[in-house]
Symmetry: C2
Subunit: 459 residues, 2 copies
Amino acid sequence: MRYDYVVIGSGVAGYPAAVLLAREGHKVAVIEENLIGGECTNYGCVPSKSLYLLAEAYRSLKKVNAEIHTDWKEISKFVKEVVDESRKGIEYLLNKHDIEIINSKGRLISPKRVKTNEGIIEAKKIILALGTDPKPLPGICFNKDILSNREIFYIDEKPERLLIVGGGVIGVEVSNIFAQLGTEVVLVEAMEHILPFLDKDVALTMRRFLKENGVQIRERVIVKDIKKKDEKLVVKLSNNEILTVDKVLVSIGRIPKTNEIGLENASIEVDQYGFIKVDKLYRTTNTDIYAVGDVVGGPLLAHKAMLESIAAYRNIVGKEPITLNYKLVPQTIFSGLEISWIGYTEKELKSKGINYKKIKLPISYLSSVRIKDSRYSYVKILLSEEKQQILGIHIISPNASEVISSFLPFVIEKIDFKKIAETPYPHLTVSEMVREIAEYIIGEPIHTVVKRMKTIRNQ
Amino acid sequence: MRYDYVVIGSGVAGYPAAVLLAREGHKVAVIEENLIGGECTNYGCVPSKSLYLLAEAYRSLKKVNAEIHTDWKEISKFVKEVVDESRKGIEYLLNKHDIEIINSKGRLISPKRVKTNEGIIEAKKIILALGTDPKPLPGICFNKDILSNREIFYIDEKPERLLIVGGGVIGVEVSNIFAQLGTEVVLVEAMEHILPFLDKDVALTMRRFLKENGVQIRERVIVKDIKKKDEKLVVKLSNNEILTVDKVLVSIGRIPKTNEIGLENASIEVDQYGFIKVDKLYRTTNTDIYAVGDVVGGPLLAHKAMLESIAAYRNIVGKEPITLNYKLVPQTIFSGLEISWIGYTEKELKSKGINYKKIKLPISYLSSVRIKDSRYSYVKILLSEEKQQILGIHIISPNASEVISSFLPFVIEKIDFKKIAETPYPHLTVSEMVREIAEYIIGEPIHTVVKRMKTIRNQ
């Protein structure tokens, strides 16, 4: 079979390019070995945010000591329905654009040929949108009790006790969800603190929030051993603690899915971590083959993958290229008290030797924040020395995931903070903080006192 | 007693100017006849959004057929606690700035003198931030069963059956809250449809949503008579329907609170609706007396009031004036399926003879929207003919109240939609729509098909 373009992987990195290419009349095939929609739709954002909606409802109703009875079967049904609908949406999109869907693993046997269950497929150009797999604990395989993100959102019953290994984004989000829903959660992190890639003040705020919500946290601790005993798992930690739990979630990292893909048959190189090397146009070391999304590394996020997919399409058909600024990709931890950020952390600025001014503005006085209960809410803004440019912004508050988008135009275009301070951001929302922050930066806040902004010198 | 400045009213229109003036060292007094914080804090946004949080939690948990038991006393306690904290926040701010709080009605007895319970107060300049009162039904007084926004959020027990008269913002928000919490709600609107100031398509979407959530709606109907009978209220409607309910909420409009203020003693004029006339600098017809907030009319919103309060302060001390563009004041109806908008409605553009292009983009395919269940979600954008300028944007979706802020920079500054289309707005949020909309406007959407945008000619 011959196609103009073949995309391997139908996730958020794959389907956008496929659709855009097909819309221009090209003959396009998508090879998918698993479920259409990839990790995000089937095992990531979509099921986790479905459960998160329920977890947040539980959290709200705790404020009035509500008694809530749910049947876990109903919860599972809801999650499955949302995921199915999302997946069907992508299938519809592919079908509507006459894209051939080949349900098979795809293996490069030469630079323009892919071996599939349905025979060998030829294409002028190939896009690799392979994604990643969850990384297992050293020497401990995934099984029906030791789970990854592929299984945790689909378990048959609510675990009474859940151990989560790895305090990164997935670990923290799942901890919060299950703790709110009534599971006893223990979260174990090998590094000095959970969310080790974030500045310590931000990570410790999340630690405090999780602890208050019942999550037990162990830091600088690793799992030594897991044994099954009487339907339970007995886990030995490096601090000699022995835990007995129903399930274990392992969320310690991701492995690029490049195994048995035949990269060697097309001279495609990977970096030291196994991510496929690409140039600015998302071409691999074989320039007829593109790679985008999680498999090329960088922030493993759906919106980053989608933009890369669009960028690859543009480069393939010769449209004006898109240059993604990876420091401006917004990131969020959906965890009740959410953390959203764009740009640099303080430790990154330090390591790069960049001077900056720092604002740390508590926003717990905002009624919206007060209602959603977050005495810990604050915003940290790192400004260039001349206070003209936002180098980094971290929002720690309920709804931070929605609010961060309000800051995107500020980092794209130079926006006059004075104008923002004079713009009526809507009451009663968390986004009101935007005007308050602008007011603070220009030095005339109503609700707070301006502290002198110290420059942090790193050079 | 002599002050530099006196502010009558301690709500969102009053306290910002008071704080800013006091911070510059001026001697400031605030006269408040009721509770510090005014309508928004005590009887408006703050208590209603506290209840809304719970209503939304109920709505989320309906998706999994949860059984929820709450004690109304706990709900009331929660609302009161949030309101008390918010009010104390404002009291703290006033005290911290050494502002004298005079708990009294204030009555102008001459242009620079105000009579209070604590004697006559003199000031160089006076700011009137008087607010509004709820408008009663003609010939029917408010009482312990016929309520306004002052009482509805503080009732002792959940009404089994509630009649809401007036399908404006308050009526729709309260309908949604009580319907979600399990009250049988009947909403009566005198005009052709609820939310009569909005375009019909938007209003009818809300009608469909409310009906699905159990609200019974009567349009082109008015209340003829309310009689008490056996602890219930028997209500006769103009369509001859007889309703028996526990409580009635009247939300048919607001009356500027200018009664017995002594405006005549300072030659202050009001308009035909009773709102105080002000010039661009918020000076009344007596130029030593300023008026801001709800009492001057325009959108009766906290964020508009706050900006006017800041503007008045700036004008009084001779700082560069702020010119508010009232068409850019974002407005929101917090009603599950929220409606947020900036700028013009279609009917406003029609009546002004302005041509426009219209985009109506369904956004129910976004996973965030799907999870929060809104098959009815869409965005309506009204663009200038050259597609350069947003004349109006209406978001109908969950979280619209937070998302609308993402559009504010677009209406403040000219922003390149192409740049926005190339910016990774965060997945999985409702704000993702911003990029999708930009993609649609520039003509390259992934998830939808671009329909030819028709120009609607009004001239």
